[in-house]
């Protein structure tokens, strides 16, 4: 199998796994919310520290946000995988282009603090 073919198979797997995992997390989080009635919501803003610490408490909304993050991470991973391929192919122009796209995605995460 050529590296391009392997890449396409990998992308397909990333996409399917990402959608299934996030769908499962969101379904689980929503079910937990409905069953326990726990609608606690630490703060309005998305905060990665809060998500990792699970602090001050672990609520169903944590699982929901984890599901949303998994979903958003899927296309980001797809970009990261293609940087690797373009590097392998010694395609300098596209290594730079995809790296900038990934950089913008990262910036959007760190700058969007309301």
């Amino acid at each position: 199998m050529s590296s391009l073919k392997r890449m396409e198979a990998l992308v397909s797997t990333i996409l399917r796994a990402g959608v299934l995992m996030s769908g499962a997390l969101i379904l689980f989080g929503l079910t937990l919310t409905i069953v326990t009635g726990d609608t606690s919501y630490p703060n309005g803003n998305m905060d990665i520290d809060w998500l990792i610490r699970g602090d001050p408490f672990f609520a169903p909304s944590h699982i929901l946000f984890l599901g949303f993050l998994t979903l958003i991470a899927t296309p980001v991973l797809r970009i990261a995988a293609s940087i690797y391929v373009y590097t392998k192919l010694h395609d300098n122009a596209f290594t730079i282009i995809t790296t900038i796209v990934l950089f913008v995605l990262m910036v959007s995460f760190t700058l969007g603090i309301g």
Partner: protein, 281 residues
Amino acid sequence: MYLPPYVIYAFLISLGSGVLGAMLGMGGGTIMVPLLIFLLKVPIHIASGASIIAVVATSSAAAVSYVREEMTNMRLGMFLELATTIGAVSGAFLISVMSEAALRTIFGLSLLYAAGTMFIQSRKMERSWAQKPNDAIAERLHLGGNYFDSARNESITYGVSNTPVTFIISYVAGIVSGLLGIGGGGIKVPAMNAVAGVPMKVAVATSNFMIGVTAAASALVYMRNGYCDAFLTAPVVLGTLLGAFIGARLIKQVRGVDLKKIFVAVLLVLGLRMILSGVGI
């Protein structure tokens, strides 16, 4: 036990939008956002925040089959993503300084635009598409490509022309996507098809790939800005995904043209209502 009616209604609204979106080859966000606003009285910022995350979901789900069919032009998509992601981040920042009324008016105008392009499409069954050669930038970056058209049973090679114009339109599509919480495929597909001369099927698949990346950039800004209501977004994402799944299976049984005519009417009504409510009538 916690099950407010809005969770169920949000699920049903996005289920319907997801079915229609998949059947018409567009994201569900265009109809979902106005319905969430009018039926559930959700503020537009929150409705767009829920929608943009659902858009990421449908894009990734649809992309699985596009990747398999090798329709997506990854090089062209990646190149245009330079413009679109930067546009999306600008748009998502812009939303925090814009009023509900202004956003409703802009959203309404974009619905009317979508109605217009869909009306033209439904009139012209055979899309006029002139194959164009690569221009200088496309030649240097090898943006052209080829795909196997199963309907015509032949391999089709195409070029990419008017690259600078397509790039600028992509930036605008990014702003609109970030600002309104929709995929923006309604702008990207005609740009790639009519301006750059890329075949329709490739334009749709490439636009879908781009939408996922663009929406991811916007979604992160929305979340950090606190425009993501977890208990609204969760049923919206699940409803849209299930709807898209059903829609993809229904598509073979319904005539596209009839569906488009109905949809044009729906878009017109929603668009006018959005503008009227935006300007305070």
